[in-house]
Amino acid sequence: MSDLHRRLGALLGLIALTAFVSGAGLDAPAVVPAGIALLLAVFFQPGQRLAERVEPLWQIAAIGLALRATFHAVSPGGDPVLPMVDLLLLLLCAESLRKRDGTGDARHFALTFALLIASAAYRPGPLFGVIFIAYVVCATVVLVTGHLAREAHSYHVAAPPPQRAFLLRVAALSSVVLAVSAVVFLFFPRLSEGWAARPTPPVARAVVGFSDRVSLGSHGTRIEANPEIVMRIEFPGGPPRSLRGLHWRGRSYNRFDGVNWSRVEHGMPRVSEAQAWPGGIVEQVVYARPLAEANVLFGLHPVIDVTAISRIRPVRLRSGDFVYTGESDPAYRVRSRTGMPAPEQLRAVEREHTPDIIANLQLPAVTARMMRLADSLRTSAPTMYDHVVAVERYLKTQFDYTLDLPSTRREATLDHFLFVRRAGHCEYFSTAMAILLRAGGVATRNVNGFLGGEWNEFGQYLTVTQNNAHSWVEVFFPGYGWVTFDPTPPGAAATIAAGAGSLGRLRMMLDGMNHRWGKWILDYDLGSQTQLLQRLAQPFSDQDRTARAAAGRNGVSRWPLLMAVALAVLLLLSVRRHRSRTAPSAVSRAYLTVRRAWQRAGYPPAEALPPLAFAASVTGAPGADAVRRVVELYTAVRFGSAQLSAAEHSELRAAAAAARRAARQSARGSVVPG
């Protein structure tokens, strides 16, 4: 028992270390040596002499690491976390390789648990869930075996040998711990205001992809793909019919200096497209990662409103962009219109240059040939809408999409794009369209966001990665507000894709797990709690009953049904309990089955013949020895208060089987009893 307990203890340390690595990676220098030491401790225990020699080394190393951690803690700008983890790992290894007594056992458990707490601070992925279950199971077995070994030692009795069935039962009992963990996790009120906590640092800052600036100045290389996920979007009311070409609008820019786009907040027309536009409402629940560039909230244009799910505060700007304040990962609900104004409606709109739109007509220094191109595109269009569509079509059809950047800074201009290179990425297309339209007197602005995404069948949500970052144009139509136009050639930018092939499906599945882990574990909060409770209470609410009655189903409350089921379960348990109380022991059962078998072969029933007389009555018959042995063991236990050993139990089972077999043969007539 002691050896098993020691090995399992080392295994527990390994599990805790894995949990830490799943969150923090291999940052702490002691992780790899600690892993090797713990693995060693599973299979090997140093002898008394070696342990005594090594002990001073542990102590010296521990003092050194403690001093190092203290130094990091007191030095300005120092981070004591990793030195503390190193110290923790050293102590854990020392404890795992020592011979443990009761105090050492508690210390060992405390160290492994501290490692688990440390790993929780790193927001580990779903692997942590699996490791946590393994940890609880292993810790339960370790604590139980350790306790039994210690108690037996203190009373100078032999510790019971570790039996597989016992260990399995104890491991199964850890489900109680897991169940309580789940209940605490789900229902413990999330009242945290973080009065003394450090804000959770954003762990994934986007470097390539969405950027809160549009600049044509980049040159000399190729834009690399970046599959990092920036947001996952669920559609509670079901996804839109077509997911292709969904523009997840982020930020808009209205001032262009020839290279960079920027924002001028004054002079923005305050419009409400959502009221003027036709169509229904599509709801989106967005779980996003914080972006390095800006605290932007994304949604389908036009957005009606945004409500926060996580601890953020959405703010609507005059431009119609949504930003937020707060430190947690943004999770929010967006309601948008599904349709857009019909072309006929937009054709009827005349140009109108109100003072608050002037800023969106600003032009940088444009070349003469650019002006000529703008004029040529305008003259053929009878209305403003046709003008816009003509420019969009021109760029879409006459230009190519490429992620290759221009070679030199001189080539990274709009003029070079329009008249020499005739290829570029989305920012060139959107800038070209915006400037060509402005040159023709149409108010436009450049918009950044994401296009499309990847639909996850397992999780039923849309995954948007940095690869989906996109730039497009919004054109102002008086009476309708800003209308989206995208001049980038179709097929070039990322659109809706689904995981294909077994690898793609696996990736989707893992991403689905990640999403659920983040949504239900890492970001589970008061809102999620309320939602869960409402969902649990829904089947019993009056509204639900009314709804079901309206749908033609039985409107009877489900409470009586639930109570009836609960009563039935209690009754069943009670009957089982009564039966198990009155059930004969294993020895009695074996004896009674033998008696019944011989009764069928013509011998008197158990009520008519006492056990010893029965054994005597079968003397001489085949199987008599087996019967006699069963009776001996039965009487020893039943009347002699004896306890059977494991070997005797096996013997009893074998003898009972042999006795029954003999009785069956006797009943068939192959053996004549007596």
């Binding site: 946590f132 306790h147 963990s181 306890q643």
Partner: protein, 375 residues
């Protein structure tokens, strides 16, 4: 308030106390205290940071505590205990109390169950009063008791002083499954442990029938075998017989102890009177032990000795049961600081007085306890 009223009130309070007495008690061990404190601290940290994984870890600690409570309850539930006590034990000796445990649960084995005597009566208003001077009852330990199984365990008892010690019940306790808490359950199981006084003091045999005087309690003439007359035959061993008189060959042949009997063994008949008044507790116990030793000597010699101790009176009769009854009387006798002198139950010349306060009057023989020199 009158005496009757106050007694009624005490009874009522006792009933309330019994009603409120918890069926189970939980004692925290050091690791358990650390775990509870750690859970509290982690709870604060969890509430503060709002880290959801900490909620999960907090839940696991609470789950561990809950599992500990549940399993310890399962370990103690459904256990039946029977106690096997020796007829009596001699003060200063070590004995074993045997317990037969039966686990009536059909599925759950009992793990790590400790059995010990309940130190206070279950219905006592002042539990400490009953524990003063009690023997040191050890505890018995059951590593595993299979479902439906039985096992015998024992506890070692050391009794330092004589007395009749009522046993009120047993306390079953377990630290299973994690050793964090000790859960206890009381079982009412009345009984009594009789501790006889020591009877190994070297005393000279009493002289009766006119050979009056003050006897030494010890000394050169303290041996018990010099005045026993001729060898008469063999008889069965009785409690109090001198083991040196065992006839080993007959004992081996018959499988039971056989003793040599001498001519004088059946000739003397006298009373041993214990004066139950003694100035100190030490002298009280010494007097009782001298009386017990005299009874032993008498039995070894075959004398028919009666006993008077306080209100108890056992007439001189022969036989082991009679001697055991006499020891029972001495185990239970209450010594006092003040009181009247004892009266001889028969002719004073045939009575032997054991006293710690001097005097002797017309007694046949006087054994003064505490006197340095014979008077």
């Amino acid at each position: 308030m009158s005496m009757a009223n106050s007694a009624a009130l005490r009874r009522r309070l006792l009933r309330v106390r019994l009603f409120l007495r918890p069926p189970r008690r939980l004692r925290m061990r050091r690791p358990g205290a650390v775990l509870v404190a750690g859970t509290f601290v982690l709870g604060l940290a969890t509430l503060n940071t709002g880290n959801n994984l900490l909620y999960l870890l907090l839940g696991s600690l609470l789950g561990t505590i809950a599992l500990s409570g549940w399993l310890s309850e399962q370990a103690l539930r459904g256990l039946q205990v029977r106690r096997s006590l020796p007829r009596a034990v001699r003060a200063g000796s070590h004995v074993r109390i045997e317990y037969l445990l039966h686990n009536r649960k059909p599925r759950w084995p009992g793990h790590g169950v400790r059995v010990r005597e309940l130190h206070a009566p279950l219905d006592s208003a002042s539990p400490h009063a009953a524990t003063a001077g009690r023997p040191d009852f050890g505890s018995a330990f059951v590593p595993v008791l299979e479902a439906g199984g039985q096992c015998r365990v024992h506890a070692d008892v050391t009794a330092d002083r004589r007395g009749v010690f009522p046993l009120h019940g047993l306390t079953l306790s377990t630290g299973f499954p994690f050793g964090l808490f000790d859960k206890e359950r009381d079982i009412a199981l009345p009984g009594a442990l009789i501790v006889w006084p020591r009877a190994d003091r070297a005393v000279q045999p009493p002289r009766v029938s006119g050979r009056r005087g003050v006897r030494r309690l010890s000394g050169a003439g303290a041996a018990t075998g010099g005045e026993r007359g001729d060898y008469q035959g063999l008889r069965e061993y009785r409690a109090g017989d001198d083991p040196r008189d065992l006839h080993w060959r007959s004992t081996a042949r018959r499988g039971e102890p056989i003793i040599r009997q001498y001519e004088r063994d059946a000739t003397e008949e006298y009373w041993i009177v214990l004066d139950t008044v003694a100035p100190t507790a030490a002298l009280s116990e010494e007097a009782v032990e001298v009386a017990a030793s005299l009874l032993s000597v008498a039995a070894a010699r075959g004398d028919r000795a009666g006993l008077v101790a306080g209100s108890a009176r056992l007439p001189p009769l022969d036989g082991g049961p009679r001697l055991e009854a006499a020891f029972d009387v001495l185990a239970a006798v209450e010594m006092r600081r003040h009181g009247p002198a004892p009266h001889p139950p028969a002719d004073p010349g045939s009575c032997v007085l054991v006293t710690a306060r001097g005097g002797g009057g017309n007694w046949g023989d006087v054994y003064p306890v505490g006197a340095q020199e014979p008077r």
